[in-house]
């Protein structure tokens, strides 16, 4: 790899994946700024760029999780109810019961983490704080607009949306660079 835009990432595969995603953003940006394409096409290019930008943000933050946290840090505790015994049936929709109510510790696999979980973990460990955390969630929600099934309007993606995503990615890049 020559001239990486992420030279502080030592993992060569991650670095190349980041560079190729970043390069693809620059390619799509040239299309979105060219007179060859209409507004609908430009909006679609911007939507793809936002998805790619969010994937760069996610990968950079995951890199911190991967290098700074161990498996114990990734375990989550939750209450679990087992061995249910019905003591009294009030009616078909109401029972009085007894049973075991215990804390259960579950390990989370690193490679299954999504951006929300990565942010939650880094927040819990006081690694990631506001205002950057809030900005990342804004981009996560912007990226989630790719799920068009439940969307109630046709959304157009503007230059402002895109620059906002780039701004957060730039902040995350500086944050991760300073952390490692």
């Amino acid at each position: 790899m020559t001239g990486s835009n992420f030279p502080f990432i030592e993992d060569s595969i991650l670095r190349q994946n980041l560079d190729e995603s970043f390069d693809h953003i620059v390619i799509l940006l040239s299309f979105s700024e060219s007179a060859t394409y209409n507004d609908a096409a430009k909006s679609s290019f911007r939507k793809t760029m936002i998805i790619y930008t969010a994937s760069i943000i996610e990968a950079l933050l995951f890199h911190i999780v991967d290098t700074e946290l161990n498996e114990k840090d990734l375990a989550v505790s939750s209450w679990e109810f087992t061995n249910k015994k019905v003591l009294y049936e009030v009616d078909g929709a109401h029972q009085v019961v007894a049973g075991d109510f215990k804390i259960k510790v579950t390990e989370i696999k690193k490679d299954k983490l999504n951006l929300q979980q990565i942010c939650d973990l880094l927040k819990e460990k006081n690694i990631l704080t506001e205002p950057l955390l809030g900005k990342i969630h804004e981009i996560r929600e912007l990226r989630n607009s790719q799920h068009i099934g439940s969307t109630r309007k046709v959304r157009a993606f503007s230059r402002k949306d895109l620059e906002n995503a780039f701004s957060v990615a730039s902040d995350v890049k500086s944050f991760v660079k300073a952390k490692i």
Binding site: M1, N5, D19, V26, L29, S30, R159
Partner: protein, 59 residues
């Protein structure tokens, strides 16, 4: 619209830089960006309203 990613003669991927010329991008991807070909990519992005993307390009 689809063009190969930038590769060196040895097939290695080369990342875009702040000083990549606009003419290089126009030629690679068959687009007309409406500015002088010798303008640097980083400068172009700043002028188009993408200062953060420009900042992410290594100088």
């Amino acid at each position: 619209m689809t063009k190969n990613r930038t590769k060196t003669n040895s097939g290695q991927f080369t990342a875009k830089r702040f000083d990549t010329k606009i003419s290089t991008i126009e030629k690679q991807y068959g687009v007309d960006l409406g500015v002088r070909g010798d303008m640097k990519l980083g400068t172009y992005l700043e002028e188009k309203g993408y200062p953060s993307l420009s900042k992410m390009l290594k100088k």
